[in-house]
């Protein structure tokens, strides 16, 4: 039988606020256990929540960025369940009226195909704390520093049909939330968490199959693997005459498999109801307008502009706009250099990206900043540097030896562009290799390359290659 996969994603993005969603405690990562949890975060008797304005602004920013309906009135609800990392015995979340309703986003896969994925809703909620299972005499330790960190839960429609599509969607959202400055996107620290609802159905069937929710996926690579494993598992179950059970499954990256989370198997009855400690969040048009005015250029818009304004290929434009910082870097370097956009794009995508990757650095940590790269591009554009010399200068800049001009000066890397000087070197080389000159003149064209090499060697690599070629040819043919 032919099977079709159906995937919907629930993404929890930690919002980049300084303080928690309902208290004045810090959200900084990595503090000593329970040192960033106050009476509100601990659910102490009598403590009450007050909503963080920045969490609301970031949620609205996201809604506007995906052309969603931003609800002018939204409601916080309590999701009731007992768990040690959930101090109040309920999570404050949104149910019936989320702050962001239906929206959509355009995603593009590596092969260039694009599609629109529906976003059902995005709602604000508080994060839970952490359970630490190291040995406390067989007990579990609870750290509530994370409890109350603001989350935006972004729920997609079940619009994706393969693990690759799901990854493309997750990456698009990841890029967007970073563009918007609403989430640092750190998947290792759990700032950006992806749960996948996966089901399969016979191709052509209209109804969805029973789905399983796959959790604990902390990289895009694992997301793809986890979904693929789960799809295979479900197909195996169905083909051997079994039934898929609706359940939560945990991805184990070490074994590359998903397994049932028995502790969460129990029938859920969350008893949602409007939180009486919080009032309806009401947003007026002026507020929405202000947030709208503060929106940065979005990835897709920027990409289109790059194609049009800089005559870049869609591939280059996609690459450069995947991260806001990278796009800014490119444009800043270009502004300094005033060279052709393609030259700047090649350098950013080529040598710079390779160096960053190798060093494991983010663009904003690059030892060669946009001004410096622009300076280098200038010297390439005005022929001061050949491509080879430029690489040498780039490496020196990376090593912290200063700007392009200073390095050129210090190392004497300036390209020889004086015709007379080049001619003198050519003449000296030709005098040194009379046999090869004779061979060339007898019709052996291949020797030309050898002679070019010898001239460049004599010029210590600094001769302008085009001029060298021209002079050499002229001398040999005369």
């Amino acid at each position: 039988m032919q099977w079709e996969t159906v995937i919907g994603l629930e993404i929890h993005a930690q919002l980049a606020t300084k303080s928690k969603i309902f208290s004045g405690s810090s959200t900084a990562f990595g503090a000593e256990p329970n040192t960033q949890a106050n009476v509100v975060d601990l659910g102490m008797p009598g403590a009450l929540p007050v909503l963080n304005a920045e969490a609301v602004r970031l949620a609205v920013t996201f809604g506007l960025a995906i052309n969603a309906v931003v609800n002018r009135r939204s409601i916080f609800a309590r999701k009731n369940y007992f768990y040690p990392d959930l101090p109040k015995g309920y999570q404050i979340s949104q149910m019936d009226l989320p702050i962001v309703a239906r929206g959509e986003i355009l995603i593009e896969q590596e092969d260039g195909t694009s599609q629109t994925v529906g976003i059902t809703r995005a709602h604000l909620e508080e994060d839970a704390g952490k359970s630490l299972h190291e040995d406390f005499h067989g007990l579990t330790g609870i750290d509530l520093n994370r409890a109350g960190t603001p989350l935006l839960e972004i729920v997609s429609e079940p619009d994706m049909r393969s693990a690759k599509e799901a990854v493309a969607y997750a990456k698009t959202i990841h890029s967007l939330v970073r563009y918007l400055g609403m989430c640092d996107g750190n998947m290792q620290e759990g700032s950006f968490r992806v749960d996948a609802n996966v089901s399969v159905r016979p191709k052509g069937q209209a109804e969805f199959g029973t789905r399983a929710e796959v959790k604990n996926v902390n990289s895009f690579r694992f997301l793809e693997r986890a979904i693929n494993f789960e799809v295979e598992r479900q197909i195996d179950v169905l083909e051997s005459g079994g039934k898929v059970v609706q359940e939560t499954r945990l991805y184990d990256p070490d074994r590359d498999e998903t397994r049932s989370m028995r502790s969460k198997e129990e029938a859920h009855d969350y008893r949602y109801f409007p939180d009486p400690d919080l009032l309806p969040v009401v947003l007026d048009e002026a507020y929405i307008e202000t947030v709208h005015a503060g929106l940065p250029e979005l990835p897709n818009d920027k990409k289109q502009r790059f194609v049009k304004q800089y005559a870049l290929s869609p591939y280059d434009a996609s690459f450069l706009t995947a991260e806001r910082e990278l796009a800014d870097y490119f444009e800043n370097a270009l502004k300094v250099a005033g060279c052709e956009a393609k030259l700047a794009a090649n350098w950013v995508m080529g040598d710079l990206s390779a160096a960053l990757n190798k060093a494991g650095l983010e663009i904003k940590q690059s030892p060669v900043n946009a001004d410096m790269l622009g300076g280098l591009l200038n010297r390439i554009a005005d022929n001061t540097l050949s491509g080879k010399l430029a690489k040498e200068v780039f490496e020196a800049m990376w090593a912290g030896e200063g700007g392009a001009d200073a390095i050129i000066e210090k190392k004497g890397l300036k390209q020889i562009t004086d015709e007379g000087a080049i001619a003198a070197i050519v003449d000296a080389v030709l005098a040194q290799f009379p046999e090869q000159v004779a061979e060339f003149r007898s019709g052996k064209d291949k020797v030309f390359g050898f002679l070019v090499g010898q001239v460049m060697k004599a010029a210590k690599g600094k001769a302008n290659p085009a001029q060298l070629n021209a002079v050499l040819k002229q001398r040999l043919e005369s």
């Binding site: 000593e32 579990t140 009401v282």
Partner: protein, 95 residues
């Protein structure tokens, strides 16, 4: 409507309160009594009436995103039932 002893057990588990076997029947009666009282609501037609979650017609105030609270762990854990290395301890959570 009445609540059966089975339902009492189910509700008690949802609310994470153990109920002694001997008390189940009594709770079933008590809760059924309360439900009978509550069901007097059914004598009125409330179709089209907007549910009222709050007595006053106000909307949520927003707090500026400022860190105003700092480490109070010692105070807040001073009377906690079980604490070690700053962590609250509970029986092993199995995942």
């Amino acid at each position: 409507m009445s609540i059966t002893p089975n339902e009492v057990m189910k509700i008690a588990h949802l609310a994470r309160m153990s109920v002694d076997h001997d008390d189940v029947e009594r709770y079933a009666q008590d809760l059924s009594g309360i439900l009978n009282l509550v069901e007097h609501m059914n004598q009125v037609d409330v179709r089209g009436i907007e549910p009222m979650a709050h007595p006053l017609d106000m909307c949520q105030r927003l707090r500026a995103d400022v860190v105003t609270e700092f480490n109070q762990r010692d105070t807040l854990q001073a009377h906690a039932p079980a604490v070690e290395n700053g962590l609250f301890l509970v029986p092993k959570v199995i995942e």
